[in-house]
Amino acid sequence: MNALLDRLMGRGNTTPSAKVAKERLQFVLVHDRLDLSPDKLEAMKDEILSVISKYVRIDRNNVDISIEQRQRDNWLVADIPLSPEDEEDADEAEADGKKSGK
């Protein structure tokens, strides 16, 4: 019955499969092209972040580091928000920086 309703209403809430295919392809091709597995990419991100946190306090929850395709070139694009310094005291920031990185 639900399937029939979906069909009558258009396609209901399911994502059209072409959109899923496109997203999956874009993801897999980045890793194919660079010969960089998702695991390695995560490890690289963690390392980058721990280097940066040695110097400045960063807001880890809102970090966005990803590989972007521009024509047939790939770019590593990083958005790394810094935490406001005045809320924290400098010693604590340093200690946090050392802890970070899994």
């Binding site: 069909r7 009558l8 072409a18 295919a21 392809l25 194919d32």
Partner: protein, 270 residues
Amino acid sequence: MTARVITITSGKGGVGKTTATANIAVGLALLGKKVIAIDADIGLRNLDVILGLENRIVYDLVDVVEGRCKLRQAMIKHKAFPELYLIPAAQTRDKTAVSPSDMLTITKKLRDDFDFILIDSPAGIERGFRNAIAAADDVLVVTNPEVSSVRDADRIIGLLEAEEKGPGRLIVNRIKMDMVRRGEMLSMDDVVDILAIKLIGVVPEDETVLTSSNRGEPAAGNEKSKAGQAFRNIARRLAGEEVPFMSLDHAEGVLQRLARLFSSSMPSTG
């Protein structure tokens, strides 16, 4: 006359390389161009059957390479399209029987006598592919709007760039416009977005492609075939004409459009 060498390749098998080669060759011949198609898929000869020339083979590409015949003797002239010739692949040998430099030598000898030399590449990224692209001035990458063939096309484009033959131009083959419209098949725009190379043709899924290969008469020679028209358009673009791409609606016949109207107004059972 100095021919342009155009290689048709794909990475993945079964996406329609040979069909595309045969149909583009016929399309070019219909434009009055002198064309020779070379089947570089040694061991899995097929371009001959698609073109309807399987009964006329005496010598093949490997016979030329190994000096058992003159180049002329391996060239089969098509009776229906007198401007079209084929050099068939050997059926009983493998890819190592030909080298990239053999392909350079052969195409060099042919360049003066033709407008276009089309090379049908085997699937894969190994020796056969290297042979097929060795002499290419231009490469056409065939893909279907489906994840595995798009992924393989991307790999091929990467290899073409590494060999300084790329990125090539894209043929999206076997597209079903009604599925694209429902969001259930990648559109040509999606595929172009993902692969980031220029499009040279969009060919709709069309039964006449199969019925044409059944008869050994490529669809490009059939005025009524939609896919045939798409292949003729590719030929015209190769010949330097500006041809607009078929829109979503044009790629579908009036009857199919009516059928779609009716079927979308009632729930289907399957």
